[in-house]
C-alpha cells in the first residue's frame, strides 16, 4: 500500500511539510487499521473468538460494493439524474449491509456450534473459513482487481503543501462517523446488552438477554466494519480495485489490536492510529536505513512494535489483565 502513498510525498518539500504529509498518510492508513481492529475486538469481546477470517470479510465487503455499484448499478438505475456521489454512497451502503448479512450467516453456521469449545480450535476454524472465502473471492474478482468506480477518483485537495486525496477526506469523515455511531450504539439498550454479554454470558442470560442473538449481531456489526474498511482499502490511493491482495490488509492490522489490548475498543482505535503513523513514518524516515533494516521494513514495523509492547505489557496498552485463579 505504500506505492500509492509515495506518489503523494513531494520530493522538494520542507521538513515540516514532509512531516505533515507523513502524518496525514499515517492517519489514512491508521483509520483503516482502526476500523479493522475494532472489528477484531468486538468479536473477541462478545464471543471470545479471534477472527482470522476478517481479511476475507474485508475483501467480500468491498467486492459486494463493486458488484452493487458497478455491475448492478443499484440504486442508480432507478434514480436518473441524481448526483453521482449520492447514488454511489447508497450503493456502498447496500453492498456493506449485504456483507453484514454474510457475517450473520457465517456466525450462525460455523461459530454458533463452537460455543464453549477451546479458543484455539475456534481460531483455527476461522482460518479455515478465511481460506474458503478468500479462494472464492479470488476466483471471482481475479488478479487484476475489480474497480469500485467511486465518484472521487484520483482528485486531490491541497492544504498548504500537504496533498490529501478527496477519497481520504471522505475516509476520515466516515471513520469518525462510524466510531461515533458505535459509541452511541454501545449506550443504547442493545448495546448495553452486548456489553453485558461480553462481560459475563451467564449473568447476561439470567437477565433475559438472548446471548445467541447478540453473537449474531456482533458478527453483523463486524462484517459492516470490515466492508467499510474494504472500500477504503480498494480505492485510490491504495489500490485500483478489489483483488486477491485486498484481504491481506487484515494481517497488517493484527499489531494494532494487540497494541491496544484484545478486549479494548478504545485501544483498537488508538492502536490502529499508532501503527498507521508508525508505518508511514518508517516509509518516510527509515528509507535511508534500508541497507540495515532491509527493504520493506515499514510493512513489518507494526509487528516489531507489537513484540516490544507485549514484552513490557503482556495485555497491550489498554487490555485488561487476565486474573489467574486456581
Amino acid at each position: 500500500m505504500t506505492p500509492g502513498l509515495l506518489i503523494l510525498a513531494q520530493a522538494d518539500a520542507s521538513s515540516v511539510d514532509r512531516f505533515l504529509q507523513m502524518l496525514v498518510n499515517g492517519l489514512a492508513v491508521g483509520t483503516v487499521y482502526a476500523l479493522l481492529a475494532m472489528g477484531f475486538v468486538i468479536i473477541f469481546k462478545a464471543t471470545q473468538v479471534l477472527n482470522f477470517a476478517h481479511g476475507a470479510l474485508v475483501a467480500i465487503g468491498a467486492f459486494l460494493v463493486a458488484i452493487v455499484a458497478v455491475d448492478l448499478d443499484i440504486p442508480g438505475r432507478w434514480m436518473p439524474g441524481a448526483a453521482e456521489w449520492l447514488t454511489w454512497s447508497l450503493a456502498a451502503v447496500v453492498g456493506v449491509v449485504l456483507g453484514g448479512m454474510l457475517g450473520l450467516l457465517l456466525e450462525r453456521l460455523f461459530i454458533r456450534p463452537m460455543v464453549g469449545e477451546p479458543l484455539f480450535q475456534v481460531a483455527i476454524l476461522t482460518v479455515g473459513l478465511d481460506i474458503v472465502l478468500r479462494t472464492v473471492v479470488d476466483d471471482i474478482a481475479g488478479l487484476d482487481g475489480r474497480p469500485l468506480a467511486d465518484p472521487w477518483g484520483i482528485s486531490t485537495a491541497t492544504f498548504g503543501n500537504v496533498i490529501i486525496p478527496h477519497t481520504q477526506l471522505v475516509q476520515f469523515g466516515v471513520t469518525a462517523f462510524t466510531v461515533a455511531a458505535l459509541a452511541v450504539f454501545f449506550r443504547s439498550r442493545t448495546g448495553v446488552a452486548m456489553r453485558a454479554t461480553a462481560f459475563d454470558q451467564e449473568a447476561a442470560r439470567a437477565q433475559g438477554i438472548k446471548v445467541g442473538r447478540i453473537f449474531g449481531l456482533s458478527w453483523f456489526l463486524v462484517a459492516l466494519l470490515a466492508g467499510i474498511a474494504g472500500i477504503f482499502v480498494s480505492i485510490f490511493p491504495r489500490a485500483a480495485g478489489v483483488s486477491s491482495a485486498t484481504a491481506f490488509v487484515a494481517f497488517r492490522a493484527f499489531p494494532a489490536i494487540i497494541l491496544g489490548g484484545l478486549d479494548s475498543v478504545v485501544g483498537a482505535v488508538v492502536g490502529g492510529l499508532i501503527i498507521g503513523i508508525a508505518e508511514s513514518s518508517a516509509s518516510v524516515y527509515l528509507v535511508e536505513f534500508d541497507n540495515i533494516l532491509g527493504t520493506g521494513f515499514s510493512a513489518i514495523i507494526g509487528y516489531v512494535i507489537m513484540m516490544i509492547v507485549l514484552l513490557v505489557r503482556p495485555y497491550g496498552l489498554f487490555g485488561t489483565e487476565e486474573i489467574r485463579r486456581v
Binding site: 479471534l50 482460518v127 479455515g128 474458503v132
Partner: protein, 411 residues
C-alpha cells in the same frame, strides 16, 4: 495377554511404546509395508512404487516430522503457535549455509551429518530465545506473537539475500548424499538411480527410504518424550498451568523445553523440505506453511503421535486425489453417456464459457480451477474436523475401536 483388553500385569507393560498386541501387529505390518513399498512387490500397492508416488510419500514423511514438532508444543504442552514455518525456515537456511554449494551465496559444502543436526540445533536455540514470550504472553496473544514471528522471519529471510538468494530466484539447497567430508564422490548418493544390496532402486525410492528412516526415528523420539517426566509436565501445563505450577512443575523451564524440542523438529523438517524441493524462495516459509502444519495436527488429532502420520498423509495426498478425480470427471463429461455424463458435465467445465463448478481451463471459464478447489476443500476440511470431530482422524479410529471392543453390545 490376548483377549483381555487393558489388562496389564506390570508397570512396564502399561508404559510400553506399543502396549497392546494389536498395536504391535499393526506397527510391524505398517513398517513391513513401507519398507517393501518402493520395491513394488506388495500386492495391491504396486502403483505406489512409481516415482511420483515415492516423491509424495517422501513429502508426507517430511511434513510428518514438522507436525510431530508442533504436536509437542500445541498438542502436548498446549502452547498455540502459528510460527512453525519460521522455525522451519531457520532450519532450512542453516542447512543452506553449512551444506549448500559454495558459490556467490553463502555455502560451506559440508556433509549431511553436519548440516542436518545443526539445522535442528540452531532452530532449537532460536526457539529457546522465543520461549520467554510464551511465559509472559498467554493463549491467543501468543498466537498473534508467533504470527508476527512468521512475518518478521519472512522479512529477514528475504533481506539476507546473501543467504537466501532473495525472492526472485531463491537458492539451491544441499543435495541428499552421504560424505565423510568434502570428497568428490559421495559414499551414498540419493540423487542418482543405482542398486543397493543387489536391488535396483530409483533415486526417488532411495530418497523415500532416507525420509522414512528419519521420520520413524522422529516418531519414536516424539512418542518417548510423551512418556518422560518432561512429557507429563507438558501435559499438566496444557491442562491447567496454575495447578501444574503449584504441584511443582517449573513452568518457565518446561515451556522453554517444549519450544526447544518443537523447534528442533521444525528445523530438521525445514532443512529436509528445502533440500527435497532443491530450490526455494524465502516466501515458501510463510503463513501458509504454518497453517498446513496446524491442519495436519488438527486433522490427525492433537496430542497423538500416530494421528500425525494419518494427518500428513491426508493433507498431502488429498490434493492429488482431487486432481485425479477432476481428470476422471473431465473424461466422463467428454466421452461418457447417460446420467453420469450429465452430472460430470455439470461439475466440470470442459470448454471455455461452459458453466461448471470446476474448470479445467484456468482463467477462461467461470468455475474454480483445480488448485482453488483444493484450497476450498482444505478449508472446509479444517472447519469440518473442528466442528464434527475435534479429535481428528484419530478420534474416528477411537470410535471404530470402541465399537468393536464392546461388540456385540453398544457400550
Amino acid at each position: 495377554m490376548r483377549g483381555r483388553p487393558l489388562l496389564y500385569t506390570s508397570y512396564e507393560g502399561d508404559q510400553a511404546l506399543l502396549n497392546t498386541w494389536t498395536k504391535k501387529t499393526v506397527f510391524g505390518l505398517m513398517m513391513l509395508l513401507l519398507i517393501l513399498l518402493p520395491l513394488g512387490v506388495v500386492p495391491g500397492f504396486t502403483w505406489a512404487a512409481s516415482n511420483s508416488w515415492m516423491l509424495v510419500f517422501s513429502q508426507v514423511s517430511i511434513f510428518l516430522i514438522a507436525a510431530l514438532g508442533l504436536n509437542l508444543l500445541t498438542g502436548l504442552a498446549g502452547q498455540v503457535s502459528l510460527g512453525h514455518a519460521f522455525f522451519m525456515g531457520v532450519g532450512a537456511y542453516t542447512a543452506a549455509i553449512l551444506g549448500g554449494p559454495e558459490g556467490p551465496l553463502w555455502g560451506l559444502g559440508l556433509p549431511i551429518w553436519v548440516w542436518l543436526p545443526a539445522a535442528g540445533m540452531v532452530a532449537a536455540l532460536v526457539g529457546v530465545a522465543i520461549a520467554p514470550t510464551s511465559f509472559r504472553v498467554r493463549g491467543l496473544y501468543l498466537a498473534i506473537v508467533t504470527l508476527g514471528l512468521v512475518f518478521i522471519g519472512e522479512h529477514l529471510f528475504r533481506n539476507f539475500d546473501f543467504i537466501s538468494g532473495g525472492s526472485q530466484s531463491g537458492r539451491a539447497f544441499p543435495p541428499f548424499e552421504f560424505k565423510f567430508w568434502k570428497e568428490e564422490t559421495p559414499l551414498v548418493d540419493f540423487s542418482t538411480d543405482g542398486s543397493w544390496f543387489g536391488v535396483e532402486l530409483s533415486s526417488q525410492a532411495k530418497t523415500f527410504y532416507l525420509m522414512l528412516t528419519i521420520a520413524v526415528v522422529a516418531g519414536l523420539v516424539a512418542k518417548n518424550i510423551q512418556r518422560t517426566r518432561a512429557g507429563r509436565a507438558f501435559q499438566s501445563i496444557r491442562d491447567r498451568d496454575v495447578a501444574a505450577e503449584i504441584t511443582g512443575v517449573d513452568e518457565f523451564r518446561y515451556k522453554t523445553l517444549a519450544f526447544a524440542l518443537s523447534s528442533f523438529f521444525a528445523g530438521v523438517s525445514g532443512a529436509l523440505f528445502a533440500s527435497f524441493v532443491g530450490r526455494t524462495i524465502p516466501e515458501a516459509f510463510g503463513l501458509a506453511l504454518s497453517i498446513e502444519i496446524i491442519a495436519i495436527v488438527l486433522i490427525g488429532g492433537a496430542g497423538v503421535v500416530s494421528g500425525m502420520a494419518l494427518g500428513s498423509l491426508f493433507v498431502i495426498v488429498l490434493p492429488l486425489l482431487v486432481l485425479n478425480f477432476t481428470e476422471w470427471l473431465t473424461t466422463v463429461a467428454k466421452t461418457g453417456d447417460g446420467i453420469a455424463q450429465s452430472i460430470a458435465d455439470f461439475v466440470v467445465a470442459t470448454s471455455s464459457f461452459d458453466p461448471g463448478l470446476i474448470s479445467s481451463i484456468p482463467g477462461v471459464s467461470p468455475g474454480l480451477n483445480v488448485f482453488q478447489v483444493n484450497q476450498v476443500l482444505y478449508g472446509l476440511l479444517i472447519i469440518g474436523f473442528i466442528i464434527f470431530e475435534p479429535l481428528g482422524l484419530f478420534g474416528i479410529w477411537i470410535r471404530i475401536r470402541n465399537y468393536w471392543k464392546g461388540w456385540p453390545f453398544t457400550y
